[in-house]
Amino acid sequence: MATLTYRDALNQALREEMQRDPNVFLMGEEVGVYQGAYKVSRGLLEEFGPKRVVDTPIAELGFAGIGVGAAMGGLRPVIEFMTWNFAVLALDQIVNSAAKMLYMSGGQIPMPIVFRGPNGAALQLASQHSQAWESWVSHIPGLKVVAPATPADAKGLLKSAIRDNNPVIVLEGEMLYNLKGEVPDGEHIVPIGRADIKRPGNDVTLVCHSKTVTVALKAAEQLAEQNVSAEVLDLRSIRPLDEAAILESVKKTNRAVVVEEGWPHAGIGAQIVDLIQRDAFDDLDAPVQRVTQADVPMPYNKVLERAAKASPEKVVAAARRVLYLE
């Protein structure tokens, strides 16, 4: 087992899948010569050539559409967006073409395409470049959405996404690319739709995904110092959602806090709370709490930005509320 950065784990996944299947190709802004805005595609142009590692103009809707067409023609494109904030321009192709094709063709035209790139806030990128899009994309039937939090999950989920015959959204993170972690060598696949307990516990379930897994793990450490045993449940997949894992954990702990990067209104947490209140009602000892970004455009000011984001302290406070310790 090698220790890799999240960036290199994604790079490994791309390389292995491109080696494995000649139909897989990568396309996006700066993915070739520049080797990726975040160096995820380092060495790929050299290894696979310009036909399979394609630099595009700054035209998200255009190259997303080319990707959809290529997938219709039998290829397996991986479309990289420099950030998901730019992918908004391509939503017509993602939502109206990619997500609908299999359904509207009566099952005749599969859509094996991956749209990937960093999601959510980094540091001081201001309102337009600090947005978490998972509740937008996971809203759409026909799309699968994954949001890996660790290098191992990043590799395993990207490989699953590339092999999937449906459009899969892979939400990465600028602040995650340098994260190091152990990644199993060779064929490492993480199935889509399977959550993972990142830290077992008994008193409260912290449901999280992507960057908030780190937040929840820090919160769990602080809670442990207060004799509270928190279970950190990493969703990994937003759609499909591992409902069984969520319910199983809540049935054990009787209390839940849902943590996400996005805004509260119609957020991922709202979906999870809906599930818990409906299917774990008799196991609940307290109303489920949510920790989200403040319901405002992300401030540029560093102090305000920090205050707006989900933090371990906010998670600890929410956990104490569901435990009736406040």
């Binding site: 207060q226 004799n227 009787n254 009602f281 008799d282 196991d283 609940l284 000892d285 307290a286 009736y324 310790l325």
Partner: protein, 420 residues
């Protein structure tokens, strides 16, 4: 972070609780669900259960103290953790100090009773709509599984919501332990003149409810008819023996003596109601109601149980005489622990006397009259006396008063019993 231990509402009407006993002490390791302390509610003694794991860092409320529901009584946390030792401001002055028990052997003069200000009632923690129990879905399920009636469980969640930890400890809470009643003891030969016993919660409730029902002192009355034949014979014999020495024994003297001796056996009736505690007297001072020109006064036969009939007779005559001439000193008509009112000389068959506060009881003595009473299958004529005891229900319950009256009756019907 340390967690607070609150005085919980352990009964639906509980507004304050008296910390009877700490089962855990500072420094003890505690686990959620452990019984921390016994708390007397207005109904019973209940268990206060730990809501978190750790060490009992600080006990803020000493045993015997009454605190309003919601006040912090202790802290649980990690060893060495700093907590607010003085208790927060919410603790305030609301907690009443435990009443001191008997002071060290002191001169005969009774120490003044420490008057604690009445505790302002804390806002009730019970939900406004008592018919609906708020409980978390999980708590409802557990309650159903373990057979706990949620109505009997006080929720510790927001708005009194019953949550998991309440029903887990619920079985323990439901095990109500009856408050021990003060037992009657025989008169201690010497030493402490009285013992102050803090009002138990049930006593307070009785006091509040019954007082609201019939005036400041909730009276109740017990009447019995006593056969005075043997007392009359004894009196005649004694007076014959005294002969010309004078100082004849009256029925009143015999009654005072019997009342005093019976009180020694029933300390529960030899008591003062003192707002937040009951003072159970070890000494017996019998007040004797004497009609005077513009009212009545009750001179006191001190330590009547220890005095002979002659002494009682002499003292009562002397006190009554000075009472009528209004020359009693204050200390001679105050400090009775129980009183006797005798209207026998006015041909009153029976009557009810009004308690002289803070005493808890008085016996009203009617006339001794000859009556036809059944004796086996015959009817005989006997001298009979009807005695009515007025009791302060805040101190004396019906059965206690009745037991006292029965003893008094036995003593008068068999005067030799007074020698026992």
């Amino acid at each position: 972070m340390a967690t607070k231990v609150h005085m919980e509402a352990l009964s639906p009407t509980m507004e304050e609780g008296r910390l009877v006993k700490w089962n855990k002490h500072e420094g003890d390791a505690v686990k959620s669900g452990d019984t921390l302390a016994e708390v007397e509610t207005d109904k019973a003694v209940m268990e206060l259960v730990a809501r978190s794991d750790g060490q009992l860092l600080k006990v803020l409320v000493p045993e015997g103290t009454t605190v309003p529901v919601g006040n912090i009584v202790a802290w649980i946390g990690k060893p060495g953790e700093k907590v607010d030792g003085a208790g927060s401001t919410e603790q305030g002055a609301a907690a009443s100090k435990p009443a001191p028990t008997a002071p060290a052997p002191a001169p005969k003069a009774a120490a003044p009773a420490p008057a604690s200000p009445p505790t302002p009632p804390a806002p009730a923690a019970a939900p406004a709509d008592a018919t609906r129990v708020k409980a978390s879905p999980l708590a409802k399920r557990i309650a159903k599984e373990v057979g706990v009636d949620l109505k009997l469980v006080q929720g510790s969640g927001p708005g009194g919501r019953v949550i998991k930890r309440d029903v887990e400890g619920g079985a323990a809470q439901a095990r109500a332990v009856a408050a021990p009643a003060p037992s009657s003891v025989l008169r201690a030969p010497s030493g402490v003149p009285y013992e102050d016993v803090p009002l138990t919660q049930i006593r307070k409730t009785i006091a509040k409810r019954l007082a609201a029902s019939i005036g400041p002192i909730p009276h109740f009355f017990l009447t019995t008819e006593i056969d005075m034949e043997r007392a009359a014979e004894a009196r005649e014999a004694l007076n014959k023996q005294l002969g010309e020495e004078g100082g004849k024994i009256s029925f009143n003297d015999i009654i005072i003596k019997a009342v005093a001796l019976a009180l020694v056996q029933y300390r529960a009736c030899n008591a003062w109601f003192q707002e937040d505690h009951i003072r159970y007297w070890n000494e017996v001072h019998v007040g004797m109601a004497v009609a005077i020109e513009d009212g009545l006064i009750t001179p006191v036969i001190r330590n009547a149980d220890l005095k002979s009939l002659r002494e009682i007779g002499a003292e009562s005559r002397e006190l009554a005489g000075r009472a009528r001439s209004r020359r009693l000193k204050p200390e001679e008509y105050t400090g009775a622990t129980f009183s006797v009112s005798n209207l026998g000389m006015f041909d009153i068959d029976q009557f009810t006397a009004v308690i002289n506060p803070p005493e808890a009881g008085i016996v009203a003595i009617g006339s001794i009259v000859a009556k036809a009473v059944p004796d086996g299958d015959r009817v005989v004529v006997r001298r009979r006396l009807r005695v009515t005891m007025s009791c302060d229900h805040r101190v004396i319950d019906g059965a206690t008063g009745a037991a006292y009256l029965k003893t008094l009756k036995q003593m008068l019907e068999n005067p030799l019993a007074m020698l026992l």
